[in-house]
Symmetry: C2
Subunit: 334 residues, 2 copies
Amino acid sequence: MSNRLGAQTLTFSKEPRILSSYAIVGPMEGKGPHALDFDEILPDDVLNQKTPEKSERLILEMAIAKTLQKSSTKLDEVQFLIAGDLLNQIISSTFAAATYAAPFIGIYGACSTFAQAMGLAAALLQGDFASKVLIGTASHYQTAERQFRYPIELNVKHIATNHHTVTGAGTALLGFGEEGPRVTHATFGAVVDMGLKDPNDMGSAMAPAAFATIKQHLKDTGRSLEDYDVVLTGDLGRQGRKMLRLLLEGEGFQGLDRLQDGGSKIYGDGQKTGAGGSGAACIAVMTLGYALNKLKSAKARRILVVATGALLSSLTVAQGESIPCIAHAVVIEA
Amino acid sequence: MSNRLGAQTLTFSKEPRILSSYAIVGPMEGKGPHALDFDEILPDDVLNQKTPEKSERLILEMAIAKTLQKSSTKLDEVQFLIAGDLLNQIISSTFAAATYAAPFIGIYGACSTFAQAMGLAAALLQGDFASKVLIGTASHYQTAERQFRYPIELNVKHIATNHHTVTGAGTALLGFGEEGPRVTHATFGAVVDMGLKDPNDMGSAMAPAAFATIKQHLKDTGRSLEDYDVVLTGDLGRQGRKMLRLLLEGEGFQGLDRLQDGGSKIYGDGQKTGAGGSGAACIAVMTLGYALNKLKSAKARRILVVATGALLSSLTVAQGESIPCIAHAVVIEA
């Protein structure tokens, strides 16, 4: 286990890099404070498609096309496509994988999908199984609303702890090269279920999972929060972010000023988005947009991305189950 | 890429092994011709649970517990749990992962899940990222019927090309040791979509994916079908099995007598199960039961398992989409 540190962290000494990436968001995310961080802001979230599921898939395919184009890479140079999304049977990813037919590893990690994909891709590169791996994820406000809550036509009122699903896609090509941010570590989380049952407050349910993974990551690497310029969680939202802070404070962790949350940051205060953004695309576009820009502009040298996921379904909620949660972390360095 | 052969095949020179495994099936599978191959046959498929989803999860948890017990392994010795299933948001796997809280990699590959998990586990072992990896999958006739077709209470008549979802779970602990079958290769498939749209004939849709992966595997390894004692596909069923045979014959492949199909074999002719078995558990229990017994009893030395998946959802069918399919292959040797 020479590519491991401690109980849960993988290390990537061969320095797999993000060779190119693309972050697309919808119009609402494009009105938020991070508009300038994204590669593309869509004029509308329908894109002339008959259903929002088709729009979500198209956005993912657009991001894949642009990522390959930016690095002048042909699909047949890519050994794996790793992708997942929130929809039942991850249909956005599987249909995009039919269009971009590289060997496909479908994953499900809810809103933690992006870090899970990134960690797996880096492992396949470090392990001499591949030289180029494409990863991607997408989400769409309308598809998530109608699958997990209500069709938007019903205009059901949201409450303050509700998240607003980000419309967008984030894709990246990982491989070896002279340039691009390096992926140096991945900490895969275990599922944490504290018994919380409120699907309208997923931030509170996810915070203990983020806490567990951060704590384990710091233990495994012998680092403190202060070894990172930014610790970007997502998508805890305003409620979950507070809980994570309390949990870290409670155990005496220093450097809480490093904590930022993708879900809390993606929308502006005036945008009426409850607790903030969520959806598999949220941490993906905040990492590939905001975090990579921080690294590129030398405002940060080392960032810990901690992607959280609430692993519930409409059916588990209806059957009175609690919400199992997970967080996967990756370290990205300039 | 020293751990690769050709365009799509990974090689595992460190010889990760199946240290222990457990295959549980329901009463109906227990009445089929392979009853003696399985570790456990359940007396009923409800198991005193309030819903079939809870039963499915319990079966998966039972299999995990037995797999750990058989190899005297404690959960904290396991570096990864890789699991997936057919249910929306893979809830059987995520909830089982809350009970068995090892670092969790959730995957979705429909009925190809088992080979995808096995291939990923072997890669994590070969890549020095882990020394013990647990994999698992489950399915249940009642949960799949009501999610993908109709609630069984409606008693909707099945047609000859329909599959019957296997109730069961298959789990395995992979690691290094002196004994146990070795996992030597994995070929990850790309998504193949031939435009077929009939959700009542998934065998025909999946056959081209199985064909593509088998063809690529043989090309990558320089082997022929005759280099395998058994090529166990699943779950093509009676219809898809014929199509695969035609595709292979059409391109002049020899050794078609090596082909066997898990879905076609799991039920007896008198069991009224249409085209045969399907569900994520089908190829899992047929591999961990039937195929491993072949290796143990020296009736086979080398088996190619080709797990197929139809990556549709009820929603994609309703929206008139075709059925993207995939097949992942792993080689298991005595």
